[in-house]
């Protein structure tokens, strides 16, 4: 059965991972711009990264029949230096017309600071003025609850429609507020430390399957690019229907992402 991994950082993964994902049924991915594990020292560093996301990765993915899409932004971990972040943001419009760009992301907050919030608001303005979809990163651990609320408030204040925004990395203490306020929600599956495939299925059992998707957020840290197919196995192991498996790992991401005319999951 085919699936979409709507949040994975392939720049940090090997070509072998593309092959294994394709063998497990992956036909489309979306890759948000993120923190590479170190702070880039110049806007040129970001320019090269955006080139990699819009040119190199789509070709690498295509070798395995996977359609590659991306989201562009300055991630919140590199937003504390607001002057630098604004300088980088000025090059984003040069890439917005690339054929695999779906919108602005992953924007959001990391430590819930004033400068992070200011750069988040600048990105929301850009998304609104260019009518882009938005993919949101929420902070981790003790900062998630506060950050998720600050982000949702900023999105409403900016005047964006919540059904054109996906709020990612939801957990049991944030999922219900995110859905209740009309947003789409993403569950990120980590092999340890955060939401496991088992807990993601628990969340589906508790909150239903409307406007929810799952992703691996595979990157340079401990993470598993096959966690979406592993969560499908977990759903089946518990006796959930194939309709439910398909809805969460195919229909839901396809419905949200297809709001961008550039998204292609397959040939139909």
């Amino acid at each position: 059965m085919k699936y979409i991994d709507p949040h994975i950082h392939m720049v940090s993964r090997t070509t072998d991972d593309y092959e294994r994902m394709a063998m497990a049924g992956c036909v489309a991915i979306t890759e948000p711009a993120f923190w590479a594990g170190f702070d880039r020292s110049s806007p040129q560093g970001f320019y090269d990264y955006y080139k990699q996301l819009t040119d190199t990765e789509p070709k690498r993915a295509a070798q395995y029949g996977i359609r590659h899409h991306c989201w562009l932004c300055v991630n919140p971990k590199e937003a504390e230096d607001a002057g630098f972040a604004k300088e980088v943001m000025s090059i984003i419009p040069d890439f917005m017309d690339c054929p695999n760009v779906l919108g602005i992301g992953e924007i959001g907050l990391n430590k819930n600071s004033r400068n992070e919030l200011m750069i988040l608001e600048a990105h929301l303005e850009l998304a609104l003025s260019t009518n882009q979809l938005v993919l949101v990163h929420t902070p981790h651990l003790e900062d998630k609850l506060k950050g998720t609320r600050l982000i949702m408030d900023a999105i409403f204040n900016a005047g964006l429609q919540p059904d054109r925004v996906l709020i990612d990395h939801v957990e049991e203490h944030t999922v219900s507020e995110v859905l209740d306020r009309g947003f789409w929600a993403g569950m990120t599956l980590y092999p340890d430390s955060k939401c496991t495939p088992q807990r993601a299925v628990d969340i589906l059992e508790t909150y239903g399957t409307e406007r929810l998707w799952m992703n691996s957020a595979g990157d340079w840290g401990p993470s598993d690019p096959l966690s979406v197919p592993k969560a499908r196995i977990e759903m089946r192991r518990r006796g959930h229907s194939e309709d439910m498996v398909r809805k969460v790992t195919w229909d839901n991401p396809k419905t949200f992402l297809s709001r961008s005319p550039r998204f292609r999951a397959d040939d139909d």
Binding site: W35, K77, E80, N110, K111, N112, S113, R114, N115, E116, L117, P139, H140, L141, E142, D143, K144, L145, K146, R149, L150, E171, E172, H173, S176, L179, D180, G182, Q198, R199, D202, L204, E205, T206, Y207, G208, T209, E210, R237, R238, G239, H240, M244
Partner: protein, 108 residues
């Protein structure tokens, strides 16, 4: 009806029986429980442990408080534990003190 209450009434339950859940997951969570016990024993043996054997680190204190949530007989434990381990302030910080997070709110 709010979306939240709609989800709560239309939710799927877990199709497995309690015995099937135990067959599938008990051993894994038994091991995690023993890991947790060993972790707390290790804290008791810490070089700076006080007379009660309790460490002074705020994260350990928060973990002990979460153990009470697990055993209070009410449901929705995961959400309540996560909320207990969350920063409940609402104003943005003046500056970001670091990039990472500690897992429990640091004392003022």
């Amino acid at each position: 009806m709010t979306l939240e209450s709609k989800f709560m009434t239309e939710r799927n339950s877990c199709p497995m029986t309690a015995a099937e859940i135990a067959d599938a997951y008990f051993m894994e969570h038994r091991a995690k429980l023993i890991d947790l016990a060993a972790f707390l024993d290790r804290v008791d043996r810490a070089s700076d442990a006080d007379d009660e054997g309790l460490g002074v680190d705020f994260r350990i204190t928060a973990l002990h408080e979460c153990l009470k949530i697990l055993n209070d007989g009410k449901n929705d434990r995961t959400r309540r534990v996560l909320e207990h381990l969350s920063d409940h302030s609402s104003e943005p910080l003046q500056t970001a003190p670091m990039k990472g997070a500690l897992g429990a709110p640091a004392p003022e």
